[in-house]
């Protein structure tokens, strides 16, 4: 069978099965289990309506618990076993990790990523949002800066591989160095700083996201407060830092945390750019080096990532509960 036909067929089965479930389950509930007729019609309708939310929710709850709740437990359990998966070694994997230099480098680098990327992306996003606010071509500028959001991390890494190339005829950075008479260097191999070159790729991708949300927040600030400040003699910087920024602080924090979560998950950039060499490992990429080889280690690293995410998770839930009240 040709791959195209196979693809189409599988698509139809997958999507059709999903639609079929919702349609059929509701039909069965209303027509056969609790039919809305006969002497118990009223009682049946009430009962059907008690069951229906769960009918609607079932696939979501099932998928969520299977793909996100179970793995938290499953991963922790698996991380307590050795490479073969047969021998229980308690926290052995975690102790081994702590003694390993690459793991410590990965943790340190991950800290750098978590501090630098969200801060930089939010800052640049806010800057662009503010600068383009009153610009006649602001929307065009915004969509061009937003564009990297659509590009895969692999694609973005390739794009930047060109920029960072050590060959002055390929990489624009080394071409500029060449122009002012400096020796070409391979930015990816400059220890410590190469982390920042990789981080900037993610900043390049995420600035657009921060910009879109912050720019909407800036638009939402009531005009009166700004006018009042100007009448009181505030200069543009004072208006921005003392009036606008405090008013959108909530949004800034949401953007910040969203990007932080993303940073903790991204492995593609390191994987494609350096493969973790030259001291650039971060936890997700470090985990991939054990994937398919040593599940005990891999899950242990994954669980360390989970622990790092935990504070953000708690904060998120509290924020959501506050909103609902």
């Amino acid at each position: 069978m040709s791959p195209i036909l196979q693809g189409i067929l599988t698509i139809i089965i997958g999507v059709g099965g999903c639609v079929g479930y919702f349609y059929a389950s509701n039909l069965i509930l209303d027509k056969f289990i609790f039919p809305a007729r006969g002497q118990h019609a009223g009682r049946n309708i009430n009962r059907a309506n008690k069951v229906r939310p769960w009918l609607f929710l079932f696939p979501a709850i099932f998928a969520l618990s299977l793909y996100l709740v179970y793995p938290v437990i499953g991963s922790f359990y698996r991380s307590l076993f050795d490479r073969s998966g047969m021998n229980f070694i308690g926290l052995g994997n975690y102790f081994d990790l702590m003694n390993e230099g690459t793991f410590r480098t990965a943790v340190f680098n991950n800290m750098l990523w978590v501090l630098f990327v969200p801060a930089m992306a939010t800052f640049l996003g806010l800057l662009v949002a503010q600068l383009t606010d009153r610009l006649s071509w602001g929307n065009i500028a915004k969509s061009l800066i937003f564009m990297p959001m659509a590009i895969s991390f692999v694609g973005a890494s390739l794009i930047w591989k060109f920029v960072y190339s050590a060959n002055p005829d390929i990489g624009i950075i080394n071409s500029l160095r060449d122009f002012i008479g400096l020796v070409p260097v391979d930015p990816i191999q400059v220890s410590f700083w190469n982390n920042f070159f990789l981080m900037f790729i993610l900043v390049w991708i995420q600035t657009g996201f921060a910009m879109v949300i912050l720019s909407a927040a800036l638009r939402g600030i009531p005009e009166e407060t700004i006018e009042a400040a100007i009448i009181d003699g505030a200069n543009p910087f004072q208006v921005f830092f003392s009036i606008k920024v405090p008013q959108i602080m909530g949004t800034i924090i949401v953007v910040w945390t969203t990007i932080t979560i993303l940073v903790l998950k991204v492995f593609d950039i390191v994987y494609t750019m350096t493969g973790g060499n030259f001291g650039t490992h971060i936890l997700p990429s470090y985990m991939m080096t054990y994937m398919f080889r040593d599940d005990g280690r891999a899950t242990a690293v994954a669980f360390v990532i989970m622990i790092l995410v935990l504070p953000v998770m708690v904060w998120n839930i509290r924020q959501a509960r506050k909103e609902m009240r």
Binding site: F22, R134, F153, V163, W204, M313, E323
Partner: protein, 383 residues
């Protein structure tokens, strides 16, 4: 209105310039990739893409055949034109060009100025004129033509050869179809499931609703990495293994929290009267959902669809783990990251083209649907 922010003319100019610089900074890398994808290997490694629109000096190697040699007064002479070398025909289709410098060793292809006579290592002399005519003189019989190196100005040249290689010869066509096979169901299925769940969470009354919403918010941040090992094992145990079906389920599970969250936030904002009057008229929840809520939620659905599409199209991690590693089920990101970067690491033209092919569809979707994407981002994620 314009002056209210207290900006003067100079300030406006500064703002304009800053934004132009930022936009250029953001665009340059992608433009570089785009330009590079139309250049061939030699051009890429000899001149930067920013020089692509201009003529550049490139180094070439011409092999000279010895069979045209003749003897003249005890001296053996070999004459011809370097541009006649058939291997150079693609760079100099008219057989004409301008030689700026030449050399007889690969390490110094521009040792001598055109027209200057130089010694050959094997004895004798050689000269290449600006128009490409060369003349080798040797006291001994010439049995083997020397290899000549020269530097010539070549006009800008763009080619579709990279695209031909990538699209038809490199298995990328297969990877493209695989990516679609993964992406389309992995976009539609979670939306369907999430829409029903979001409706239940927004408009149906049942015990534990608040708790479920909190759980969804919490699950938003669970790192994918946790899921890989236990779920792959589970998939293998139940017989799905590494397959398209498995990757749909995985993408569905991972995409659901955001989908439920965005859609619920949107649906809660729909007017209560419509739903209540439909209920009074005797509509069931299923009817309300299909006839009223779904059409009204179109902006939010579209926005999430774009998100999920971009995310599954661009995904590398889930595909690496949940799809078999063979060529017949590779998606584009995996193909680029593992195959091309490994074996073709130095072939910049192919790399650029492959990357551009893989980002072309998301970019197209992005620029046509941007309005929905932004609207959805704002409707659901930030209050």
């Amino acid at each position: 209105m314009d002056n209210i922010a207290g900006q003067n003319q100079g300030g406006r100019l500064a703002v304009n310039i800053t934004v132009v610089i930022l936009v250029l900074l953001w665009l340059l890398p992608t433009i570089g990739l785009f330009v590079s994808s139309f250049r061939d290997r030699d051009q890429i490694s000899n001149s930067g893409w920013w020089q692509a629109p201009f003529s550049v000096d490139l180094n070439f190697r011409a092999r000279v055949a010895a069979d045209g040699a003749r003897e003249e007064g005890g001296v053996f002479i070999l004459e011809g034109n370097v541009f006649d070398d058939p291997a150079l025909a693609q760079n100099f289709p008219d057989g004409e060009g301008v030689v700026a410098a030449y050399g007889t060793r690969a390490v110094a292809p521009d040792e001598f100025v055109a027209g200057q006579v130089s010694e050959l290592r094997t004895g004798g002399t050689v000269v290449i004129e600006r128009d490409g005519r060369y003349r080798v003189e040797s006291p001994e019989e010439i049995t083997r033509g020397p290899t000549l190196y020269f530097e010539a100005r070549t006009p800008p040249k763009f080619t579709l050869a990279n695209y031909r290689t990538v699209l038809f010869a490199d298995g990328m066509d297969r990877a493209f179809i695989n990516t679609l096979t993964v992406t389309i169901p992995a976009t539609i299925i979670p939306i369907l499931i999430a829409a029903f769940a979001a409706y239940a969470l927004a408009w149906m009354d049942f015990p534990g609703r608040g708790l479920l919403i909190a759980a969804v918010v919490g699950l938003l941040v669970v790192p994918l990495q946790l899921a890989l090992v236990p779920l792959l094992k589970l998939h293998t145990d139940v017989g799905i293994g590494q397959s398209f079906f498995g990757i749909w389920l995985a993408h569905t599970g991972f995409g659901l929290p955001l989908a439920v969250y965005l859609l619920r936030n949107y649906m809660v904002g729909l007017p209560r009267d419509i739903i209540e009057s439909a209920k009074v008229d005797g509509a069931t929840d299923f009817q309300i959902f299909v006839r009223i809520i779904l059409p009204l939620s179109f902006p939010a659905l579209a926005s999430f669809a774009i998100f999920q599409f971009l995310w599954t199209w661009n995904d590398l991690l889930v595909a690496k783990v949940f799809l078999p590693s063979g060529a017949e089920s590779q998606v584009m990101t995996v193909k680029i990251a593992d195959d091309l970067l490994g074996s073709r690491g130095g072939d910049w033209g192919i790399l650029a083209t492959a990357a551009f092919v893989s980002i072309a569809v998301p970019l197209l979707v992005f620029f046509t649907m941007q309005r929905y994407l932004v609207r959805g981002l704002l409707a659901g994620s930030v209050k």
